[in-house]
Subunit: 276 residues, 2 copies
Amino acid sequence: MPCRLVVMRHGERIDDLFPDWIRKSTSSGSYQAFDLNMRFFEPLVLPKLKRPFKYYEGDTIISEMGFVLAEMVGRGLLVNKSIPDIIYTSPALRCVQTAHSALKAMSKENEIKIRIEPALFEFTDLHPGQPKFATPEEFFEANFNIDIDYVPITTMDDIWKRNETVEMYSKRVQNLLQKLAKTHEWSKRSDGALILVVGHASTVDLAIGAFREPPRTLLARELINQGAKFPYCCTAIIDRTDDGRWLYNENALPPITYMNFSSKINRDFAMRERLT
Amino acid sequence: MPCRLVVMRHGERIDDLFPDWIRKSTSSGSYQAFDLNMRFFEPLVLPKLKRPFKYYEGDTIISEMGFVLAEMVGRGLLVNKSIPDIIYTSPALRCVQTAHSALKAMSKENEIKIRIEPALFEFTDLHPGQPKFATPEEFFEANFNIDIDYVPITTMDDIWKRNETVEMYSKRVQNLLQKLAKTHEWSKRSDGALILVVGHASTVDLAIGAFREPPRTLLARELINQGAKFPYCCTAIIDRTDDGRWLYNENALPPITYMNFSSKINRDFAMRERLT
């Protein structure tokens, strides 16, 4: 049985910063960053996919800061002796990128496998249509260390057909997490496997709720402003106790603290006139 | 004559995030990070200095995010074909660290020299006493690429003796910048040298003011909240025009935009009870 679940939200979304990022960065026909918080030295993020730009509309990339925070969490897990044995991630590109960056910070990107699990995708009703995700094989071709033999418990098409309610969504995620908490995973550790789950803001919320006593789900009204409550790369650690219960371990990982700021100069102040 | 001055504020201060960071991180006798936004894998920042911890009190280090933003600016200068020929920096450790990180992002940390110029240190009245800075030789020993032959225009001791007013401080910085704008620096470029200046929030403000028409200085009341107006790693680019005037070039460098957030989970929300 696993001994620890680490449940993490993906890194900062580019489309959250720049809703118009695709048009703005591809108007020349090829990708060009227009902000220092965007990756500069890549033709695009998934060069081997040769994906049409419009596929990124429902499936954004993460920002430079997103990579950096994911790496910080990876380093935090490393110093905390919490290197995962396996990673489960939502099929959204932002989640796969986040998982990969956390692995890179541990220098484990060629060692630890990533399993793409559609059941981890966020509440479908937040999306106008079903996003065009890359397949596990396409991710693998693009050098992500995907476990292509993994058989997910459901498919995106099936999830989409259900027209799910928030209650159904809660169950989908919490059932998966409960299942992962019981699955046998191979591990070098004697105390049990360590599973890293990379998902969305609500994934972290639902993970904490699933292992509360009594457990709780998620209500529709609680989706409002979830992104602010479970910020990018926030991480919940849930540990199995000696008597087999699971407990949210609030202080397992050091936090990431930094100032709220943008690097923009206050123009009006800088350009003020001086009467001489 | 130089063709461009790039004037940059240092990266995020650790003591701004954690006023008590020295006691908290060194209580075990050796340095230990307690937040993921602190460097983890270094005994301390200047291992070769074997500095007493208390010297850091007036001379803080920068955070992980500070390094990252400085690297982003370095990458921005690189893609912008604005690689500096020489760097002038305030003697504060946070500024030397920032300069070094910007160089690292350009892979120029063994090539471009850093000159430590006390005239770039911030307004002395902001400090309870004269900080114990590392000497250029000590920085050099600690693997910063310092130009140890550089003779600064003044010394910290001299600056401290003057009991300067804000007006004197403004003059000190602006005179230096005016001097740099006229100095001959060697450059591969045909249009003139490119000088990077790393200083404090007020350094960036004074640089913009020095090259305004008419020029302006800095008033005491304008020091309030300068850190918010000129955020960490903010960068002003000042260009020489064909007729020899200098102009603040507001859009020379892409900005760095990201969300204001901390990675802390909203505890009350996550731990809420559900009545069943």
